[in-house]
């Protein structure tokens, strides 16, 4: 039967990276479901192992391979699909598709591009074509011209009119770009720019204009409409991914709204788009002038947001339109009665807030602008701007409880109002201390409406401050809640506990009402259970069902260390609860997720993952219990608080979670179980810290236990470093101790992902890290099955896991990390929750660890799983986004830095490894490799590999010491001067001219110039997009793989051909 269905090839987006994140799991997953509904077979290429779209039961075949021309062509040859979809995997899929088309591959194999035609995509992708096209149609676009000399620049600027924006065609970290107010400023900027680039762009300056977006859908019959418009709170000049965004627009009149809407539709019709697209405008806040900024002829981050904001399933509809369906024949998924051809009417307001993680990086530039740097986002739904703004701030999980938290007493106003992640709080503080709203609006370019709304919050905050708790009546309480103040903030204002506020407000019957997102502003009855909470209401839309239910807490905002993998876990948990006869209630606030698709669970609360709100929902829904162990650390952190409020947790008890989380308790537990752990101490003073370090010896790991974002983990290799870090880690005091751990080097790191039922392990999967201890497990390369774990070690690990599970009475998921050296093992971490690697190990071993966990939590019988035999190897590799984060040092440390991950399969580790790193946009070196090996050990360990490479014909370049060392061992190589050495041949020149294919930079723990030089080399490699390896074990594995495999050896096989086998026990 399946053989007769037409095949459609869907390109995914690969690993999550800054600028291209979880939203494409949402769009791909919806597309797969929609295409299957339409009767197609779906073939997916996507190496992102943590996604829902690459799960069992989604696509008919999945290829865990790079979304790149070479591999996709091979997939096409193997599958011979009828059509291909390019619009659901972000820029990666679009670029890959365009290349396949350009090279005639699609034509050759008669693959039809479904949806928007290639010519239309090309029009939107090429700046010049796009500009010419729109100009011909009389639409306004930013006036700009490319020039090659300062004289030309001045001439063009005169015709464009000052101020002008100077853009350097080739810009590094914004070098050579900027606003020139007059002739003289332009002369300076242009001169600087021409030092780096032969050509610059002189553009009219639209800084301060409003930035407005529309999401447009169109079908092949030319029915066309806009699903949603959005307004950026931050004006033009700040990337929309970096902006706070509201939907619908708040400051546009009917005339403005519909003029831009009409233009959107006209442009999209002219372009001939079929499916979904996004169009961005600049709108002059003081006239009717507008400019079209760009069109994205594909699903985007904004379309995911629009989809969640309106309840209109854009990706599913786009997929159906691509295969020829019409908007008028599709149904509105929410009402099930009205057609998909309608524009959602919102009776609430939505606010998106980005999340940045600059503190995870050294030297990161905190300014935000035209480059995207944020790593995640949240979306708040409510019925007033203050309500959604304060909700969103809490959803970010950055230690703030509202816009008014932590008011700094003194600050430099000008500095505070520069665009950084902290600006919005600085605006609130400034208003609090009396700065006028108009001055703030002028300095920031943010529309006065938003500033005034924040001012309303500030004013209420002031009046609330003057109240005493005893004098607070119902009206005051309700108003505070309508303005989005949390119980915690109110408690702090009134000097009582959050619990006391909560009890009092419940006594007043001030509880949030539950509202439904229905796309039609209540005009028609709706069938979804897509809900949010608001205080601007007197009654709820929906009475809670009496059926037995369970709540799953999702992962919340994506950040470094917690992203799509936990969404996979949450979605699977919800579905497994449903299969076990419970209504699944999902709580999450992240618009980039699949878990917030309202058809993935029985009930969806798009809500804060705070104790207050989870209790509100729990009290309302009265479920059988809450699952806190599948959404990563966010829900895990709520466990104790929830259980103190007598909430029933499903699975492992809160006390056990606390025993695992609390360093002292856990350490004592390990001692009683006879399991080793690295030496550690909780130091309450610098003296204690230094004493510990000299006892156990350096290096030591320092971890501030009072972790506010901003203070990070560090490794100190000597006393001086230790003192520096201690000073930086905030004042160490009895209240804020730091934890010091003996940092074990040269040890193997092993991850165990397991499921237990009532303290008994049901399933445990052991995977090993390629990198030695010292690299954060989220940045490590994982191998499954392990290749180098001794039988004896394995046995010890099994025993330790069994004992820990029993002692903590685990029911559900857990993850334990071990160090192994020789044959001894130590536990370094234990989490009684699903880990980052759960999707990976589940997909590789064929055991869905989340499904098993849910069964175990519910006390159901779980068939005991034995280790399946894996006749293949799978490798999970991290994806970094250093190129987006100007100034950061792209080196692996104890703090996690990767933003995503991929996995690939192979017949052996080398094949799997190469496919996997290629999936992270790594390129295999063709000829020239630059090696810079710090320290004797790094040099010695790589000698053999470099020898082999040289004999294979690779050209080796080296830094001074490495050069001499290699020469002495008869390995031919040439020397490059260091970047700082201003002498040719220089590393910088070679990198700039891309004369190097791969950089191996292994730093030794040194100080001073050497380190600075290494940092510069790594940074340049990243800036010029040259593959970089900074870890010894990784370099060794890479070189060995390179010796054993050529590109043509990397087999193109679907996931289904890598199937685990049950172990045959000999009789």
């Amino acid at each position: 039967m399946n053989g007769h269905k037409k095949k459609i090839l869907l390109l995914g987006s690969g690993a999550l990276k800054i600028g291209q994140a979880g939203e494409f799991d949402y769009s791909g997953s919806q597309a797969i479901k929609a295409l299957k509904e339409e009767g197609y077979r779906v073939i997916l290429v996507n190496p992102n192992v943590a996604t829902i779209q690459t799960s069992k039961g989604m696509a008919d075949e999945v290829y865990f391979l790079p979304v790149e021309r070479y591999f996709v062509e091979k997939v096409i040859v193997r599958e011979r699909p009828y059509g291909i979809l390019l619009g659901f995997g972000g820029q990666t899929a679009l670029n890959c598709g365009l290349e396949l088309a350009k090279r005639g591959i699609l034509k050759k194999y008669r693959v039809k591009v479904l949806g928007t035609p290639v010519q239309s995509i090309e029009l939107t992708e090429d700046r010049k074509l796009f500009a010419d096209f729109l100009t011909k149609l009389n639409f306004a676009i930013p006036r700009s011209k490319a020039v090659r000399s300062v004289t030309d620049a001045l001439r063009v600027a005169r015709s464009v009119g000052y101020p002008v924006m100077v853009r350097s065609g080739f810009s590094l970290g914004g070098l050579g770009s900027g606003v020139a107010k007059d002739r003289r400023a332009l002369q300076d900027i242009a001169q600087a720019a021409f030092a780096h680039a032969p050509q610059i762009l002189i553009e009219e300056c639209l800084v301060g204009w409003k930035e407005i977006e529309y999401e447009v859908v169109r079908d092949r019959a030319d029915n066309c409409m806009t699903v949603c418009n959005m307004e950026n709170l931050d004006p033009l000049g700040i990337h929309t991914g970096e902006s706070i965004v509201v939907a619908p627009s708040q400051t546009l009149t009917n005339g403005e709204y519909h003029r831009l809407r009409s233009i959107s539709i006209a442009v999209i019709r002219a372009l001939g788009i079929v499916g979904e697209c996004n169009i961005q405008f600049a709108l002059d806040p003081r006239s009717e002038d507008y400019r079209i900024i760009e069109v994205n002829a594909r699903l985007s981050r904004s379309s995911a947001l629009a989809s969640k904001a309106t309840g209109y399933p854009l990706a599913a509809v786009a997929a159906k339109l691509a295969v020829g369906r019409k908007l008028t024949e599709l149904k509105n998924a929410v009402t099930q009665a009205t057609p998909a051809f309608f524009e959602p009417a919102l009776d609430y307001i939505v606010l998106k807030f980005p999340r940045w993680d600059f503190s995870k990086f050294t030297n990161a530039d905190h300014r935000i602008g035209t480059q995207m740097k944020s790593v995640g986002e949240v979306m708040a739904i409510g019925r007033s701007f203050p309500e959604v703004l304060q909700k969103a701030v809490r959803m970010l999980e950055i230690g703030r409880d509202g816009i008014m938290e932590a008011l700094p007493r003194r600050y430099e106003l000008h500095e505070a109002l520069l665009p950084t992640p902290k600006r919005i709080y600085a605006i609130a503080s400034s208003l609090y201390y009396g700065v006028s709203p108009s001055l703030i609006a002028r300095k920031t370019g943010i529309d006065r409406w938003f500033i005034d709304q924040i001012h309303d919050i500030v004013r209420l905050h002031r009046s609330l401050q003057r109240k005493r708790f005893a004098s607070v009546n119902r009206d005051i309480m309700l108003e505070a809640k309508e303005y989005g103040f949390s119980d915690k903030t109110l408690g702090a204002l009134w000097h009582v506990s959050a619990d006391k506020v909560r009890r009092q407000r419940k006594r007043f019957n001030v509880v949030p009402c539950v509202r439904r997102i229905d796309t039609v502003a209540a005009e028609f009855p709706a069938k979804t259970n897509y809900l949010y909470c608001t205080y601007h209401a007197t009654e709820s839309d929906r009475a809670p069902s009496k059926d037995k239910s369970a709540i799953v807490l999702g992962s919340g905002v994506y950040r470094i260390g917690s992203s799509v993998e936990f969404d996979w876990c949450a979605v699977n948990a919800g579905q497994e609860l449903h299969r076990n006869g419970l209504r699944s209630i999902m709580v999450n606030c992240n618009p980039e997720t699949v878990s917030t698709d309202y058809d993935m669970c029985d009930v969806l609360y798009f809500e804060e993952l705070t104790l207050e709100r989870v209790l509100d929902i729990y009290e309302r829904e009265a479920p059988q219990g809450i699952v806190v162990s599948v959404g990563g650390q966010t829900p895990n952190n709520l466990a104790l608080g929830l259980s103190r409020h007598h909430v029933r947790l499903l699975g492992t008890g809160a006390e056990s979670i606390d025993r695992a989380e609390d360093r002292h308790k856990f350490s004592r537990l390990l001692d009683t179980l006879g399991i080793d752990q690295p030496d550690w101490v909780e130091a309450h003073s610098a003296r204690e810290a230094i004493a510990f370090a000299s006892r156990v010896g350096f290096p030591v790991l320092i971890r501030p236990s009072y972790v506010l974002s901003g203070s990070a983990m560090n490794v100190a290799t000597d006393g001086r470093q230790l003192s520096t870090y201690l000073r930086a880690a905030t004042e160490v005091s009895p209240e804020h101790p730091v934890v010091l751990t003996k940092f074990v080097t040269d040890a193997h790191e092993i991850d165990v992902d397991a499921v237990a039922r009532k303290g008994k392990i049901v399933c445990a999967v052991v995977s090993e890290h390629v990198e030695n201890a010292g690299v954060h497990s989220g940045d490590a390369t994982l191998v499954l099955p392990p290749q180098k774990v001794y039988v004896e070690t394995r046995k010890k690990i099994d025993i330790a896991v069994t004992r820990i599970a029993q002692a903590l009475d685990i029911s559900g998921p857990c993850n334990i990390q071990f160090l192994a050296r020789d044959n001894s093992i130590m536990v370094i971490e234990c989490n009684l929750r699903a880990s980052r690697s759960f999707p990976f190990v589940s997909k590789v071993t064929g055991n869905n660890l989340i499904n098993l966990s849910i069964k175990a939590m519910l006390g159901k019988r779980v068939a005991a799983m034995c280790d399946p035999l894996l006749p293949f190897v799978a490798v999970k590799a991290p994806q970094f986004s250093f190129h987006r984060l100007t100034g950061t040092d792209p080196v692996l440390r104890v703090e996690m830095a990767s933003t995503g991950e991929v996995a690939s399969f192979g017949d052996d580790i080398h094949e799997a490894f190469l496919k996997s790193v290629l999936s992270t946009e790594f390129r295999l070196p063709k000829k020239t490799i630059l090696v810079s090996l710090g320290g004797e050990q790094n040099k010695m360990r790589l000698v053999d590999e470099l020898q082999m490479l040289a004999s294979q014909g690779f050209k080796i370049l080296a830094t001074e010491h490495t050069h001499q060392f290699l020469l002495a061992r008869g390995i031919p190589n040439s020397m490059l001067h260091k970047i700082r050495a201003d002498k040719e041949p220089n590393i910088k020149t070679f990198l700039m001219h891309k004369k190097i294919d791969l950089v191996i930079n292994l730093a030794h723990q040194f100080e001073g110039d050497v380190i600075r030089d290494d940092t510069a080399m790594r940074r340049l490699a990243v800036d010029y997009n040259i593959p970089l390896i900074t870890n010894l074990q990784l370099a060794i594995l890479f070189f060995r793989a390179l010796q054993n495999k050529k590109m043509s050896d990397l087999e193109v096989k679907p996931w289904s051909s890598y199937s685990p086998q049950a172990v045959q026990h000999p009789l």
Partner: protein, 364 residues
């Protein structure tokens, strides 16, 4: 005791919206604090409160906005020049009897704004009520159908059913008004015409004669075509217009009816009308051209509809509502007579069907 608002300066009086079924919604009074009664209707448009409030079709109605924030971009100055249509309003004054919202913005922001929504309502002596759970209210109206209601402040007032009155007579002009143009001569029957219709005709250079609803239009000489405008209330009240339209149709003059005008034309052709349970008021109503199968998003504001089965065969169905299948327009098979239930002039709302004005011009 008025509810104290800590955050906002003015302390407002409490007011209550009372519905026919006895439900009360308590909120804060804004605008002009004098009680008002009428029919309670909701609109789902997210922008366009200045246009909606000045739309004469809302006469006698208490308008509920489902979008929770009102007044964000303030109100621009209203032109005092009667010889030209308003540019950004649909008439020169507020026609709705009251405005009911969830939150009222006290600090509007727009470069053309001259006053707040609050002060505009005050100046026009219209009451507003904020702090209302407009979604709960809308759901009630959806389930029970449109209801009579009143906003009371201090003293009780009687109910008022606008549909029992000839509202058209109240909002129409009383003597003809000319907007000179160089093009076709078009008479506009003012049943409560939105200025958007006039603007569209003016932009097509029409020489316009705007006439009262009961004007003997069938005896007008030298006109190229007639547009019958939108307007408030029950179409059955405008019998005189229907009578004139019958004669006009017989003269084979091109006639185009919009909204109420469309209903009146249908009546003139022998069809009947009925009251919808809670009407169509919003900017997202999908209609399909049944002849081309092309669909459009339209702006709508009507409580009555044409019963499609009663239309003569000569009046072929042109548009249908994709949400509920109701009648949205007809095109006469032999005469230059057509009608649309929605608002091609938009304002507020989408402009997808503006091209219908061009099509009308082709008939002349």
């Amino acid at each position: 005791m008025p509810r104290r608002r800590l955050s906002k300066q003015p302390i407002r009086a409490k007011g209550a919206l009372v519905l026919e079924d006895g439900t009360r919604f308590i909120g804060q009074v804004f605008g002009y604090p004098v009680a008002s009664a009428g029919e309670v209707v909701f609109t789902t448009g997210m922008v366009g409160y200045p246009e909606s409030l000045t739309d004469p079709s809302y006469t006698g109605q208490l308008m509920v906005m489902t979008y929770p924030l009102a007044g964000n971009y303030g109100v621009e100055p209203i032109s005092k020049n009667p010889s030209r249509p308003q540019q950004h309003f649909e008439s020169s004054r507020i026609h709705a009897s009251a405005l009911i919202v969830s939150s009222l913005t006290m600090h509007p922001s727009h470069y053309r704004s001259a006053r707040t929504l609050d002060s505009w309502l005050h100046d026009e002596r219209i009451i507003g009520l904020s702090g209302i759970d407009t979604r709960a209210l809308t759901q009630r109206l959806r389930e029970h159908g449109t209801m009579l209601g009143k906003i009371v402040v201090d003293n009780e007032i009687p109910w008022y059913d606008p549909n029992k009155e000839n509202l058209v007579d109240k909002v129409s002009i009383h003597r003809p008004l000319r907007y000179r143009g160089s093009g076709k001569r078009v008479a506009v029957v003012d049943c409560g015409v939105k200025h958007g219709i006039l603007r569209e005709l003016i932009s097509r250079s029409c020489d316009i004669l705007r006439v009262p609803w009961d004007y003997p239009i069938s005896s007008l000489k030298g006109i190229d075509g007639v547009v019958v405008s939108n307007g408030p209330g029950d179409p059955m009240m405008a019998e005189k217009t229907v009578y004139e339209l019958k004669r006009l149709i017989a003269r084979k003059v091109p006639v185009w009816g919009i909204c109420l005008g469309h209903q009146l034309l249908a009546l003139a052709l022998g069809a009947t009308t009925y009251k919808l349970p809670y009407g169509h008021r919003g900017h997202n109503q999908p209609v399909e051209d049944v002849l081309t199968r092309h669909a459009y998003i339209t702006s709508q504001n009507h409580g009555f509809a044409v019963r499609e089965s009663t239309l003569p065969r000569s009046a072929a169905v042109w548009f249908r509502n994709l949400n509920d299948g109701t009648h949205e327009g007809f095109k006469h098979t032999s005469l230059p007579v057509r009608g649309v239930q929605f608002h091609p002039e938009a304002c507020p709302g989408p402009r997808d069907t503006e091209f219908l004005f061009d099509e009308f011009m082709k008939l002349l």
